[in-house]
Structure formats: C-alpha cells, structure tokens
C-alpha cells in the first residue's frame, strides 16, 4: 500500500466544476498522501489549474468534497459526520477535518493551512524581498500588534513578534539563496529567483500542504535542479506535503512519489511515477491518439 492510500492528508472526491456549459473538471477523485510530493499532470487545458483553484478556495466547485486533515489519521472516520454538519471544520480530540469547498480563499490559507503559488508569478513587485515574506506572516503579526492598536502605541510585545518574523524570513532567504538581495524590490529579481521567492513566501504561512502551479516553468536546467532540492527539503525538513502541477517530465518523474494524470477534466491515471509512465492511456493522451488506437498501443507496450 502506498502512502496516499494509507495516510491521506487531502481527499478530493467527485469534484466537478462547470463554467456555464463547459465542464472543466468531471467527477475527479484523488488523495494526497502526507509527506508525499504529489504531481498533477496532464496536457494543456486538462483542468489542472482549475483543480488548484478549487482546492485553494478561489473557485467554488459545482459539486464534490475536498477534505483536509490536521492531526491524527483516525479523524477520517468522522468525515461523514463532518459532511453532515454545516460547519467548515470538524474537530475531535486535537485533530480536525477541514472542508475546503466550503471556505473562501483567504480562510483556506489562514485556517486550513494550504498555501499556493501561481502559474504567472504573483509577487508584490514594488515591495522588497523581505517585505514579501513579512506580508505572508500577516495573520500572526496582526494578532501580535493587537489589530494595530498596540502596534501604534508602541508596545514591546509586537516588536518581539516582528523580530521573530524577520528571523523566519531570514531562514527562508538563506534557504533559497536570496539573503543578499533581501532589501531589493522583488520585481528586480531574475525569473528563477522570483519563482523561489514565491515558494518561500508561501512557506512563510506555515502550510501543511503546499500547492505549486508549474514551479519549473521557465527555469533553466540548473535552476530546475535547485528547485528539486528545495522541494525535497520542504518535504523532509519542514514536513510539508507538496502538490504540484508540472509540465517538465524530468522534474515530475524525479521528485514525485505519486502522480495523478488528468485529461479533459477526467482522471485517466493515478499511481507511482513508474506506473503512470507505463500507462498506455497516459501515452495516448500526451501523444494525442484516438481512442481506438489506444488498444493498439497497449498491445505494443505489452509486447
């Protein structure tokens, strides 16, 4: 049994998203294992980013359930009851389940602790690298500043928290190799560094699940390699599970533990990288062959 079956962190069930008449995602179910790097792949227009937008609350799915676990595995038994209840969160004995489809985008990040990056990088260009990382720690800092009141009056409690948040930012800047550029505007960074900064910024929200939308797009081979190291370290050192959309097969095959393949909004394959690589349906989808030819290819692969 693989980890995504024994220790699921996120369960997507029967997810369907329609825009007017267009069905972008059709009855999609998959799980993300705790501690896994899960890749969501598929040809252009397969609906991958839409899945991301549903998970992170930017779109409200037409149908389906997206559940995330904090704490013990046993909490999954409570899922039917959590669904029956009206709330977005179901807690029991220190563990909890979050029903992400019921939450607006900012709450998904603030409470359910799912962070994301964007296909077209969305940094705060006119703010410095350090400020970008501080904005990511907005919610705890807001609390420490007493919703700004204590902060204006200059209470020392806030100063301490601000110092801690700068230390955290420094830790991440070290990790992504941008410590020397901390005081430069984010918009001045080269493309690859902007990608890394966006990942670090997402990590500053202390997520349990990090969703990356094409993190390797536009990177050169060396930067791509650095990205692999960073993602592995996020998984092992930080204990954050990673869900990523990627086109670069070398990245997908090398670092992911679990691959889910989408085509036209439907799941066509799900398994370990080697299993997926050998799946004739996947090959057909990527090469763009007709359905009746799939059998021929299957026969070819088998021989």
């Amino acid at each position: 049994m693989s980890r995504w079956q024994t220790q699921p962190l996120l369960e997507v069930e029967h997810l369907t998203m329609r825009f007017g008449g267009l069905v972008a995602i059709n009855d999609l179910s998959f799980t993300v294992g705790q501690g896994d790097i899960t890749a969501l792949i598929g040809p252009n227009g397969a609906g991958k980013t839409t899945v991301f937008n549903c998970i992170t609350g930017f779109y409200k799915p037409t149908e389906g359930r997206i559940a995330l676990r904090h704490g013990e595995q046993s909490i999954w038994q409570e899922l039917p009851r959590a669904t029956q209840a009206s709330g977005r969160k179901w807690a029991k004995g220190g563990s909890s389940l979050w029903l992400l489809e019921r939450m607006p985008d900012f709450e998904v990040s603030a409470h359910a602790k799912v962070a994301r990056t964007f296909q077209n990088i969305r940094l705060f260009q006119g703010m410095t690298v350090l400020e970008n990382l501080l904005v990511a720690q907005h919610n705890p800092l807001m609390l420490a500043s007493g919703w700004s009141v204590l902060g204006i009056l200059g209470f020392s409690g806030y100063k301490k928290s601000e110092k801690a948040s700068i230390e955290k930012a420094t830790y991440w800047l070290d990790k992504i190799g941008l410590i020397d550029r901390a005081d430069d505007p984010a918009g001045d960074l080269p493309y690859g560094a902007q990608r890394r900064l966006e990942i670090a910024r997402a990590m500053c929200t202390d997520p349990v699940l990090l969703c990356l939308d094409e993190p390797a797009a536009g990177l050169n081979p060396r930067e791509s390699l650095e990205l692999n190291t960073l993602l592995r370290s996020i998984r092992t050192d930080e204990g954050t599970s990673v869900l990523l959309i990627e086109h670069d097969m070398s990245v997908v095959m090398e670092i992911s533990d679990h691959v889910v393949v989408l085509d036209y909004g439907t799941k066509i394959s799900d398994g370990s990288p080697s299993e997926v690589k050998a799946d004739p349906k996947v090959i057909a989808a990527y090469l763009g062959v007709e359905d009746d030819e799939v059998e021929e290819i299957e026969a070819e692969v088998a021989s």
Partner: protein, 305 residues
Amino acid sequence: MEVFLQQLINGITLGSIYGLIAIGYTMVFGIIGMVNFAHGDVFMVSAFIAVITFLIVTTWLGIGSIALALFICLIAAMVLTSIWNWTIERVAYRPLRGSFRLAPLISAIGMSIFLSNFVQVAQGPRNKPVTPMLTDVITLIRSDIYSVTISYKQIMIWAVTAVLLMGFWYLVQKTPLGRAQRACEQDRKMASLLGIDVDRTISLTFVMGAALAAVAGVMYMVYYGVVSFSDGFTPGVKAFTAAVLGGIGSLPGAVIGGLLIGLIEVFWSAYFTIDYKDVAAFSILVVVLIFMPQGILGKPEVEKV
C-alpha cells in the same frame, strides 16, 4: 393613464439624448478601457457650439427656416466637436497610453474641469437662452383634465436620433473602419500586428463619440432652450450610468440604458419628488455597478487567477 403616456413620451425624448452621449462612453471604454470623464463636458461644448452656430445662422445670415438652421447647426456641431475631441485625445490621453493606469483617468478629470471652466471664462457664467423653436404640439389624447401631447421638437429628436443611430450602426458593423475598431476592442496588440493603425482607430473612436455627443448637444439646446457651462457634469454622469446599465462596451446597450435612465428620471420626477431625481440617478448607478456590473447586454467577467 394619460399622465403615464405623457411621461413616457418625455422620458423617451430625454433617454435619446442620454443614449447618444452614452455611446461615447461605451466606445471609448470598449477600446481603451478608460472612463472618459470629460465626455460630459464635450457634450456641453457641443451644445454651446450649437447655440453659437444657431445665432450665426439666424441673426447674421438671416436664414428663416428653422429646419435648415438646425441642419446647419447639427453639421457644424458634429464637425467642430469632433475636432475638439480629437484634439483632447491627442493632447491629454494619447501620451499617457500604456503609462501608469490612473494617469489617463486623472488627466480626464483635469480635462473635464478645464473644459467647463474654459467655457465659463470664454462665454460667461450666465445661462444662454435661445428663442424657443418647434414649439407646436400635436394633441394625441384630448381630455378636459389632462391632454397628452407630443411636440414637434420631440418628434424631431426621435427622428434624428433614430436615423443617426442607424447610420452609425452601419458604420460600425459594415465598414472597414468599424471592423478595425472592433478588432482593437478585442485585442489591441494583435490588431496592430495585423496592420491596423491602432492610434488612428482610437482617434476615430473619439471622433465618432464626439459627433454623437454633438447630436445630443443640438437636441439638448432644442429641447431645453437654454445651456450653461455647468451642464456637462450631471448629464455626463447619467449617460455614464446609462452606458454601465446597458453593459459597458455594448452599443445597443448604451441606447437601451439611455432610454431606461431617461424614463426612470422622468417617472421619478412625476410620481415621487423632483428634489431627489439626481439622487435617484446616482443611486441607480451605485446599485447597477454593485449588483450587475456587467449590465444588461454586457459580458460577465470571470476572475483570472
């Protein structure tokens, strides 16, 4: 019933004027995504041009025929207002294309202030009344208490608006110029790659908007018989409301929105209180923008993440 019918006639007349101004807002927004704040004042300038031309024609040239005089007024106002708006675009908006996003809007606000004060300084702050014209009425329903009438000037406003709108519709839908304009609305960069002179097309959009605003200006002069330098702001906001209500970017939408705003204003004044009629117009603007920003005929906007 009689009152209703009479207000319907008045509302359609007023609505035609708003619709003509609204087209200018909608076209400019469609092509460069900017609220041309000064458009209401361009309309006011055109009404002044109409008054001045009317005086030249009737007092200096001594033309007695009102129809001929108004025709000359219409042509002069359309041509001169087009030149005004072309120059305004050239001076105040074109250099800011592709710059800081707020810059053209601020520049347009400045232009609006400039235009109304220019007219105030050049022509004086007093109202400019012209001799009432086309005042004869046709009585549609005769009754002792309330007669429903339609005046010649209302008939003229309806007729001229309808004819010019049809001509304009043909221009936009069937001519290469209209095609270039619609192409620029879709994708300016692509249009330019395909050899369309984007700057020229945008200039022509301003010219067309001004020409229609000038028609509205002449109609305004005929209908109310008085113009003032401050007449740009409120009709401008109402016409903008009409453009948004109809669905900004949509030409039929602008006309429908204009008629609706005209009707709402007239009925509000007739059945509620005239004091708050402008409050009603602004409130509609707020409600429409908040609850149906795509308007009646506009396309809904999907947030791109």
